[in-house]
């Protein structure tokens, strides 16, 4: 049958005209009606428990990254070669050695013994030594956000020269806790900076590809496919190994970030292109053009907002990939290098099986990686599910 033979039912006498007040004025409908898409996405996101948990953890990790100097007891370069592989100390809250209850934070010092045969140092807690630990103690100077100089630390020994290794010491006698906190700044920021670069590249190229179409699209798509088909680990290794060794830590940091972004933009470019292609022929985009909107306005005011939540979800989902990539590169010794600390740099210490046997706490930076990657993935998944609040 052609669709002309399936005619509409006969016309009925006109019903009374729809009055403007026909829409029931219930509060629920009212608030949904005036809610912007951002609000709707947020409402949906909040119902996703795992995503909310991920969001809280992620936020916490970034707070640590920003206030690392304050939260870490020591700076990342402070070390004491006397205490290599010092085991974690227990943080005591009350001292009962004198018979009565003596409240106050403290840790015990170490008694070290040298094995006669292997010359290995082993540490035992020395109950007789009491190292007072305080909150908001004066310690080494640092700068909050790289701007405001300060010298208070959330936690630390009251005498800054006393040893305190709450999560143990490293091969070089650094405090692992402090190093992990400082590593958070580097590892988490590489994720953000790298994704920001990838975002700019991906959105620009993907946008051009999807909006302009034709030959341009074809060329950009081949470029994307080329980058996608290059095996990423050898490429990273090659590029990272090609970095001049005399480069300082900052240069290296940006070089590594750029290398990671050079791979990561392809996914975003695909997402953006796909969205542009599907939106280009949507009637509301055609309408916008007929309404006299300029090309920029059509792209940025009409098209981009309708997939910004998808975009945010994709971006969030690509941050963990960045973090993992940086960790692997640094772990292999090709990424960041001392004196910069990142979780990957810290994990280098855990490459050695002997070191692992004597100092298993060196794996803790790996835990940080897992927690942050999982948290970001949960947030990204939650966002992706909530991204389209009009879908039924």
């Amino acid at each position: 049958m052609t669709d002309l033979t399936s005619q509409a039912p006969p016309r009925e006498p006109d019903p009374p005209p729809e009055s403007p007040a026909a829409v029931p004025e219930t509060p629920g409908r009212r608030s949904r009606g005036t809610a912007s898409q951002r609000r709707l996405v947020w409402w949906r996101f909040k119902q996703h428990r795992l995503a909310m948990a991920g969001l809280i953890v992620t936020a916490g990790i970034y707070v640590v990254a920003v206030f690392a100097g304050f939260l870490a007891p020591f700076s990342s370069s402070t070390f004491d070669p006397e205490y290599t592989y010092a085991p974690p100390q227990r943080l005591h809250v009350v001292d009962r050695s004198g018979g009565d209850w003596d409240w106050g934070l403290f840790v015990h010092g170490y008694r070290s013994t040298v094995d006669d045969e292997t010359l290995e140092l082993t540490f035992e807690p020395d109950e007789s030594q009491k190292i007072d630990v305080g909150l908001f103690v004066k310690g080494e100077e640092y700068e909050i956000l790289g701007l405001i100089p300060w010298d208070r630390h959330l936690i630390g020994p009251t005498n800054p020269d006393d040893p305190m290794y709450l999560l143990g010491g490293t091969r070089t006698g650094h405090d692992l806790l402090s190093r992990m906190i400082h590593g958070t700044t580097v590892s988490m920021s590489i994720g953000l900076v790298g994704v920001a670069m990838a975002f700019v590249l991906g959105v620009t190229l993907g946008g051009i590809s999807g909006y302009v179409g034709g030959r341009t699209d074809l060329a950009i798509q081949r470029l994307v496919e080329f980058f996608m088909s290059v095996p990423s680990i050898p490429l990273w290794l090659g590029l990272a190994a090609a970095l001049p060794p005399e480069w300082g830590p900052m240069q290296r940091y940006f070089a590594i970030t750029t290398i990671l972004a050079a791979i990561a933009w392809t996914d975003l470019a695909r997402v953006v292109r796909g969205r542009f292609l599907s939106l280009r022929n949507e009637e509301f985009v055609t309408s916008a053009r007929l309404d006299g909107s300029s090309r920029q306005r059509v792209i940025f005011r009409h098209m981009m907002p309708s997939f910004s939540s998808h975009l945010i979800a994709s971006v969030t989902l690509s941050v963990p990939g960045m973090i993992l990539a940086e960790t692997s590169l640094s772990f292999l010794g090709l990424g960041l290098q001392a004196p910069v600390v990142s979780w990957g740099v810290l994990l280098q210490d855990a490459q050695n099986i002997r070191a692992m046997a004597t100092a298993p706490w060196l794996l803790l930076p790996g835990l940080c990686v897992i927690v942050s990657v999982l948290a970001l993935n949960f947030v990204g998944d939650g966002l992706r599910d909530a991204a389209d609040p009009y879908k039924r």
């Binding site: 002309l4 509409a8 403007p20 005036t34 912007s36 309708s306 009009y390």
Partner: protein
């Protein structure tokens, strides 16, 4: 006869058919294939035809959403100056698109979910620097009440509205620039029957109030009968018959029109089954490879081999009566059945 507000001459729109890895063009869909059409100021011209015959493509060419392959689209503005839309420069086109507006079929996909009614309806005013700020808000509110929506809804997002209400918003957006010609592409096809009549009434009232001219695209002949002054019938990218509505419905001069009319349901039992129902074969020929001769001969009950199917140009529209034109080689030999006017 007054000068037409819009005149389409020998319009062609072809879409390349691409195949294979490298997107080689293997042929062309002739979506619009030599259409002539004139729209008089103040009238409602219906454009009917089955799915895929090129109605939307014709409408979109006139609004210059797509660029036609060949032909002329002559628009006469309020001052009486004529412009050819197919060759107009972009800047002029922007101005012309203020005067020619489109109402789309789908009330859902045509509204940006991220914009409030104020933003959607105010967008044309903003872009053409007609009004800003509180003046813009006042004008949008005025337009909203004109299309039967409360100005209270200014700051609402479209997802909270029903299909009928959304179509009112679309109409408001089309009319806010005070256009002269409105192309309505199946404006009520996506709506419930009960809402349909309200929207049609609204369109009619607004036409009277604002002196609009409509090109009303539809495949529903009962709707067309109720709103249109004249009707143009399209088949496979070509115009096959144009006539005043009453004339076309009672005395069709093209077998395709007759077939379309025979399928219009009639509520009145006396009128029902009055004529026989002509069933068209399902297979609409491929618009990339139309049949030779009269393109309708493959499905036409009256086609004569040796005359209707000889290769060569398809028959052109010929005058068959006052204001009535049809493109059929045998139109003078046939007496085709129409339908009685709907008494409602």
């Amino acid at each position: 006869m007054t000068a037409p507000i819009l005149e389409v001459q020998d319009l062609h729109v072809r879409f390349p058919v691409k195949r294979g890895l490298f997107g080689r063009t293997v042929g062309h869909v002739r979506a619009v294939d030599g259409v002539d059409l004139a729209i008089q100021p103040g009238e409602t011209l219906g454009l009917v035809g089955e799915s895929g015959c090129g109605k939307t493509t014709l409408g979109r060419s006139i609004a210059r959403i797509i660029s036609p392959t060949a032909g002329l689209i002559r628009y006469r503005d309020a001052a009486g100056d004529e412009v050819d839309l197919t060759t107009a420069r972009n800047r002029d086109l922007r101005e012309l698109q203020r005067q020619i507006r489109v109402v789309f079929q789908d009330p859902f996909s045509s509204l940006n979910p991220r914009m409030t009614l104020l933003q959607v309806i105010g967008e044309p005013l903003r872009n053409h620097n007609v009004a800003t700020g509180s003046e813009l808000e006042d004008r949008v509110a005025g337009m909203l009440s004109r299309v039967g929506l409360s100005p209270k809804y200014l700051h609402r997002y479209p997802h909270a509205f029903s299909g009928g209400e959304r179509q009112r918003v679309n109409i408001a957006r089309a009319l806010i620039l005070e256009p002269r010609l409105v192309i309505a592409d199946e404006p009520v096809s996506a709506l419930d029957v009960s809402v349909r009549a309200q929207i049609l009434n609204l369109l009619r009232d607004l036409q009277e109030e604002l002196g609009l001219t409509y090109l009303f695209i539809s495949h529903d002949l009962s709707v067309v009968e109720s709103v249109c002054d004249r009707v143009a019938v399209m088949y496979l990218g070509r115009m096959v018959e144009v006539a005043p509505t009453d004339e076309l419905y009672t005395r069709p001069r093209h077998p395709y029109t007759e077939a379309l009319l025979s399928a219009v349901p009639r509520p009145d039992p006396r009128l029902r089954d009055a004529g026989r129902r002509i069933r068209l074969a399902d297979d609409l020929p491929d618009p990339a490879d139309p049949p030779p001769g009269c393109t309708f001969h493959t499905r036409c009950a009256y086609a004569v081999p040796g005359s209707c199917d000889v290769p060569g140009g398809a028959p052109a529209l010929e005058r068959t009566g006052p204001g009535h034109r049809a493109a059929c080689l045998r139109t003078d030999d046939l007496s085709l059945a129409g339908i009685e006017p709907d008494p409602v």
